[in-house]
C-alpha cells in the first residue's frame, strides 16, 4: 500500500510533507521538533516536557489556552507529546480550517516568547508536577518509565535521565530557560511540518509559505554528545524495585539496533514473536501453559540514535514469586537464543505488524505523524511507503542471527518490581550478574 507524498523545504529550513486524501473533509497538521528529553541540560530534567506545556500558554497573537479553544471551536482535536528524541504537536480539523491550524502553529514557532510570563510558568510547573504524581508516583510500576532507561543507558548518556523530570529540577526551571530552549530548538530548520488529508496541494503550499516563510532560521543546536554506546551491556544488569504493588513484574531490556536500521526490523519482528498477542511465545508459554504470568508483551522503544531497546514486560500471577517469574522469562529467552524461530512465526509477526500499518493509514492524524517521524528521525518521509517491504525482508535466519547476537546473557537489563516489604532497608542498587560465556 502506497500513500502519495510531496515534500519541499522552505528557505528557512522547514521541511514540509504533504499527503493528500480527499475521502473525508478532514485534515491533519503535525509538527515534529527534533528535540526531546535527550537535549536537556544538567539539572533541568523534565524541561522538554514542561516546555511542551508552555506552548499551549499562548504566543504573540494567541492568548493563554486560546490554542485549545480555537481548535475545539473549529471542530478539531489537538494535543502534543514529548519523547526522548522529539516533541510533537498536532491538530486534526475540518478541512476548511487548515489555515487556522497552520496560523496557530506558526505563531508559536515564530513568536512564543512575548506571551511567556512567570505566572504561566509557575502554574504549568504545578500542572506537570501533578502529571508526574498521576502518571509515575501514584501508579503501580509507574516509575519504570524512568528506572529502565536509567538502568539501560550509562549515566552520561542523553537517554539516561527521567523524561518527566524530578520535582527538584522542575522547581528550578526558569523563564530564562524557556527563552533559551525556544531559541535553540524551536526553529524551522529543526522541525518537520506534515499535512495529511483533504487539501489542495497548491493552496496548502501557499498557506505554509505565507505563515511559516518569514520565521527566521535558527543558529544551530548543540549536537548530542556521547550517544554512541556498545551494542551490548556486556553483562546482565539487575535491579530490584520495591513498590506498592501486589504482583511482581519484570521488565527485561536488550540493547537493539536503532530505529530505521536494517536490524531494527528484525528486532521488531522478534518482539512480536516474543510478545505480540495471544499467539506469541511468552503468552503461550507463561500465561497459557505454565500459568505463571497474568500478562506478557514485548516491544521496541523506537530510538533512532545510539541504541534502541527491545523490552519484554511480564506480570506474575499471584502465586508466582518474583524469582520464579524472572527465571521462567529468561528460560524462554534462552530457548529462543538456542533453538531459534520458525519461518511460520516470522510470518505471523509480519502479518500482524503489516495489518496494523494499513489500519493506521486510515487516520489522517496517524499518516501525518508517521510522515513527520520518518522525516525527523531518518530524513526521508518516503520511508512510510517502504515499511511493509522492509518487514517482508525479515527471515527466520535473520531473526536467529539477531537473537544469538543480542538476546544473550551479556545483553540483558532486568528491572524487577516486587511487592514492598516491611523491611525498608532493602537496596535498589544495580547488580551485575556474572555471565557464563
Amino acid at each position: 500500500m502506497q500513500i502519495p507524498i510531496e515534500t519541499f523545504r522552505l528557505d528557512n529550513g522547514l521541511l514540509v510533507t504533504l499527503s493528500q486524501d480527499n475521502t473525508a473533509p478532514i485534515v491533519a497538521v503535525n509538527l515534529w521538533y527534533h528535540v526531546g528529553s535527550a537535549n536537556e541540560k544538567e539539572g533541568r530534567t523534565g524541561f522538554a516536557h514542561l516546555f511542551e506545556h508552555m506552548l499551549f500558554q499562548g504566543s504573540e497573537h494567541v492568548g493563554a489556552n486560546e490554542h485549545f479553544e480555537l481548535i475545539q471551536r473549529a471542530g478539531g482535536t489537538l494535543n502534543g507529546s514529548t519523547w526522548l528524541e522529539r516533541t510533537n504537536y498536532f491538530e486534526t480539523v475540518p478541512s476548511n480550517q487548515l489555515e487556522l491550524a497552520l496560523w496557530l502553529e506558526a505563531d508559536r514557532m515564530g513568536a512564543l516568547i512575548p506571551a511567556m510570563t512567570q505566572k504561566k510558568l509557575d502554574t504549568q510547573r504545578d500542572v506537570v508536577k501533578n502529571e508526574r504524581r498521576w502518571s509515575v508516583d501514584n501508579q503501580p510500576y509507574g516509575t519504570w518509565w524512568e528506572k529502565l532507561p536509567a538502568l539501560a543507558f550509562p549515566e552520561t548518556h542523553p537517554f539516561h535521565h527521567s523524561l518527566i523530570g524530578s520535582m527538584e529540577d522542575l522547581t528550578a526551571a526558569s523563564l530564562e530557560d524557556v527563552e533559551q530552549f525556544f531559541s535553540t530548538f524551536y526553529t524551522p530548520d529543526n522541525a518537520v511540518l506534515s499535512i495529511a488529508g483533504d487539501f489542495d496541494a497548491r493552496e496548502a503550499r501557499t498557506l505554509v509559505e505565507r505563515h511559516f516563510g518569514s520565521i527566521p532560521r535558527g543558529s544551530g543546536k548543540p549536537s548530542l554528545e556521547r550517544m554512541e554506546i556498545p551494542d551490548r551491556f556486556g553483562q546482565t544488569l539487575r535491579q530490584v524495585v520495591e513498590d506498592d504493588v501486589s504482583l511482581p513484574r519484570l521488565y527485561l531490556a536488550f540493547r537493539s539496533p536503532v530505529f530505521g536500521s536494517e536490524g531494527y526490523y528484525t528486532a521488531s519482528v522478534t518482539g512480536a514473536i516474543l510478545g505480540m498477542k495471544q499467539g506469541s511465545r511468552l503468552y503461550r508459554s507463561l500465561v497459557r501453559e505454565k500459568q505463571i504470568a497474568a500478562d506478557a508483551s514485548a516491544f521496541t522503544f523506537d530510538l533512532a540514535k545510539g541504541s534502541d531497546l527491545l523490552i519484554v514486560d511480564v506480570t506474575a500471577r499471584p502465586e508466582t514469586s518474583a524469582e520464579r517469574l524472572e527465571k521462567e522469562v529468561e528460560r524462554e529467552v534462552d530457548e529462543l537464543v538456542q533453538n531459534g524461530v520458525s519461518e511460520v512465526e516470522v510470518q505471523r509477526a509480519a502479518a500482524l505488524i503489516q495489518t496494523d500499518m494499513v489500519t493506521a493509514m486510515q487516520s489522517a492524524s496517524e499518516r501525518a505523524d508517521r510522515l513527520s517521524m520518518f522525516a525527523t528521525l531518518l530524513g526521508d518521509p518516503g520511508l512510510i511507503n517502504e515499511q511493509s517491504a522492509r518487514y517482508d525482508e525479515v527471515t527466520a535466519a535473520k531473526v536467529n542471527e539477531f537473537v544469538r547476537e543480542r538476546l544473550g546473557a551479556d545483553n540483558r537489563a532486568k528491572l524487577l518490581y516486587v511487592p514492598r516489604t516491611e523491611d525498608d532497608t532493602a537496596s535498589e542498587e544495580v547488580e551485575a550478574e556474572a555471565v557464563a560465556s
Binding site: Q72, G75, G76, T77, W103, V127, L352
Partner: protein, 452 residues
C-alpha cells in the same frame, strides 16, 4: 513576522456518515454493512445482547468471562490454534462484555476476510468452554482483581460506583465482577449464560469496510446461517441510588501521592429525551479542555493535570461523574471549586460563546470520529445496543446545533443535583480528613481500600 489576524475559514465541505444497509436473515440474525472503500480493510463487530446486567447475583463477571472464553477455542480447535490461525492472517479476535452488550470484533485485510471470518464465526457459535481454560481465565481475572487495589484510578471508579448505587443494583459492582463473584463462577454458569443469551435473534453482525451489502449478507449467511436458537428478552433493574442526600467517603490509601476524586450522582439513561442538551451542558461543565472545571482546577489553580466530567451512558442510569486527581493538600479546595462550578451552571444561562464552543466542537469532530472502519463499526454497534434510529448519524449534527442556552440551563437544573452529590476520595486520610470535615459537604466516612 507572524500574522496578527486569525484566518477565517471558507465553507465546510459536505460530509455524511457512511451509508449502511440492514437485513435480518431467516434464523433471526441481523447483518449491517457499511461500505467504506478507502483502504482494503474490513472491520467486523458482532453485537450480542448478552450483558453484564444479566449476570446472576453473586456471580457478577459471568458475561465478561463468557465473552473472553470465546477466544479459548471451539470444538474443532483449541485456543492456541484459534489465536494462531487468525494471527497468521494478520488479525485477532477481541471480545468483551459491557453493561449493555457483548461485542466480538476484528479488523482484517480484505484478502483474508473470508478465512478469518470463518474462524471468527466458529468461535461465536461453537465455543468449547473447556474446564482448564475457564479455570485459567478465572485465575487471570483474579490477578486483575488484586491489581485493582494497587491502582488508584480504577479503585476510585469502582469505589465510587459502590458508594453511589444500592448494593443490590448491578451497577454497584464492577462490570467484570469481584474476587468473590469470579471465584464463585463455574464452567456450568458460563455454559448456561451462553445458552440463555447467545442466539441469532440477539446478535447483529456489523461489517464496515471494503465490501458491498450483497457480499456482507452472503458472507454472514454462509457462516452464521445454520446457527439456531431463540432468546427471550429480560428486564433487570440495575440503577437504584444508595441515597438521595450528600455523602462523602474517603477510601484510605496511606501511601497515595495524590487524591483521586470522584464527585457526582446517578445520571440518566442513554435514550433520555434530554440527551443532546445534557451532552452540550456537560461539554461546557467538564467535557472539553476549555470547560469550566478544567480551566479552573488545572489552568487557574494548577491543582491537577486534568479534570473532566461525563455521563456514563447506559441503557439504565449510569453515573454522572466529575473525575480528577489532585495534590493531596488541595483536596478540599479542589472539591470546593468544583462545587462552585456546578452551582454556576445552574444559576444562569451560559454565554453564547460557551454554547457555540461546545456545539461547534461536537459538530466539527463528528467526521473525525469516524475515520476508521473500526470506529464506524463501533458507532453502528452503539446504534444497535441502544436502539438508536437509523437516521441518528445523519441528524446528529443538527440535533447538537439546535441546543440553546436555555436548554443547557434546564438540563443543568434537572440533571445536575448538588443536594445529591456523592464524593469518593481515594487518598491519604491524614492529609485530607481535617479539611474535608471543615468543608462539611455531608456525612463523612473513612474505610480501607478493599473490594467488598
Amino acid at each position: 513576522m507572524t500574522t496578527a489576524i486569525k484566518p477565517t475559514p471558507g465553507p465546510a465541505r459536505e460530509y455524511h456518515f457512511p451509508r449502511f444497509g440492514r437485513q435480518v436473515l431467516s434464523n433471526g440474525i441481523t447483518v449491517i454493512v457499511a461500505t467504506v472503500t478507502k483502504l482494503p480493510l474490513v472491520s467486523v463487530a458482532t453485537v450480542i445482547d448478552a450483558t453484564a446486567v444479566l449476570d446472576p447475583a453473586g456471580k457478577e463477571g459471568i458475561a465478561e468471562l463468557t465473552a473472553q472464553a470465546l477466544r479459548e477455542g471451539t470444538r474443532e480447535r483449541n485456543g492456541v490454534q484459534l489465536a494462531l490461525e487468525l494471527e497468521k492472517l494478520g488479525t485477532s479476535l477481541e471480545a468483551g462484555a459491557d453493561w449493555d452488550s457483548t461485542v466480538a470484533s476484528m479488523t482484517v485485510l480484505k484478502s483474508s476476510l473470508k478465512s478469518a471470518f470463518s474462524i471468527f464465526s466458529e468461535a461465536l457459535m461453537s465455543p468449547a468452554f473447556r474446564e482448564e481454560d475457564i479455570q485459567r481465565l478465572k485465575a487471570e481475572r483474579l490477578a486483575e482483581r488484586i491489581q485493582i487495589l494497587d491502582e488508584p484510578r480504577g479503585l476510585a471508579d469502582e469505589s465510587f460506583a459502590r458508594f453511589l448505587y444500592q448494593a443490590r443494583a448491578r451497577y454497584s459492582a464492577p462490570m467484570s465482577g469481584t474476587s468473590k463473584s469470579v471465584s464463585a463462577a463455574t464452567t456450568d454458569d458460563i455454559e448456561t449464560f451462553y445458552r440463555e443469551n447467545y442466539s441469532p435473534n440477539a446478535t447483529t453482525v456489523i461489517l464496515a469496510g471494503d465490501l458491498t451489502m450483497d457480499e456482507g449478507v452472503e458472507l454472514v449467511s454462509s457462516m452464521f446461517g445454520k446457527w439456531s436458537g431463540t432468546r427471550r428478552s429480560q428486564k433487570v433493574v440495575a440503577d437504584d441510588p444508595a441515597r438521595t442526600s450528600r455523602a462523602v467517603e474517603i477510601v484510605a490509601k496511606p501511601d497515595a501521592a495524590q487524591s483521586e476524586l470522584r464527585i457526582g450522582h446517578v445520571g440518566v439513561p442513554r435514550m433520555h429525551p434530554d440527551y443532546f442538551s445534557i451532552v452540550v451542558m456537560n461539554a461546557v461543565l467538564g467535557g472539553l479542555f476549555s470547560s469550566r472545571i478544567n480551566l479552573n482546577l488545572r489552568e487557574a489553580h494548577g491543582y491537577t493535570y486534568g479534570a473532566s466530567s461525563y455521563y456514563d451512558w447506559r441503557r439504565q442510569s449510569g453515573p454522572f461523574v466529575i473525575s480528577t486527581a489532585v495534590q493531596s493538600e488541595v483536596t478540599a479546595a479542589a472539591i470546593s471549586e468544583t462545587l462552585k462550578e456546578i452551582d454556576g451552571m445552574r444559576e444562569k444561562e451560559i454565554g453564547e460563546d460557551e454554547l457555540t464552543l461546545a456545539t461547534s466542537y461536537l459538530e466539527g469532530v463528528f467526521p473525525i470520529r469516524y475515520e476508521t472502519t473500526s470506529a464506524i463499526a463501533g458507532a453502528l454497534a452503539n446504534m444497535v445496543t441502544f436502539g438508536l434510529p437509523e437516521n441518528y448519524f445523519d441528524t446528529y449534527r443538527q440535533q447538537v446545533a439546535s441546543v440553546t442556552t436555555q436548554d443547557v440551563l434546564a438540563a443543568a437544573k434537572k440533571h445536575v443535583r448538588p443536594e445529591e452529590l456523592q464524593v469518593t476520595v481515594v487518598g491519604n486520610p491524614d492529609l485530607i480528613r481535617n479539611d474535608m470535615e471543615t468543608l462539611a459537604i455531608g456525612p463523612l466516612s473513612v474505610r480501607a481500600a478493599s473490594e467488598e
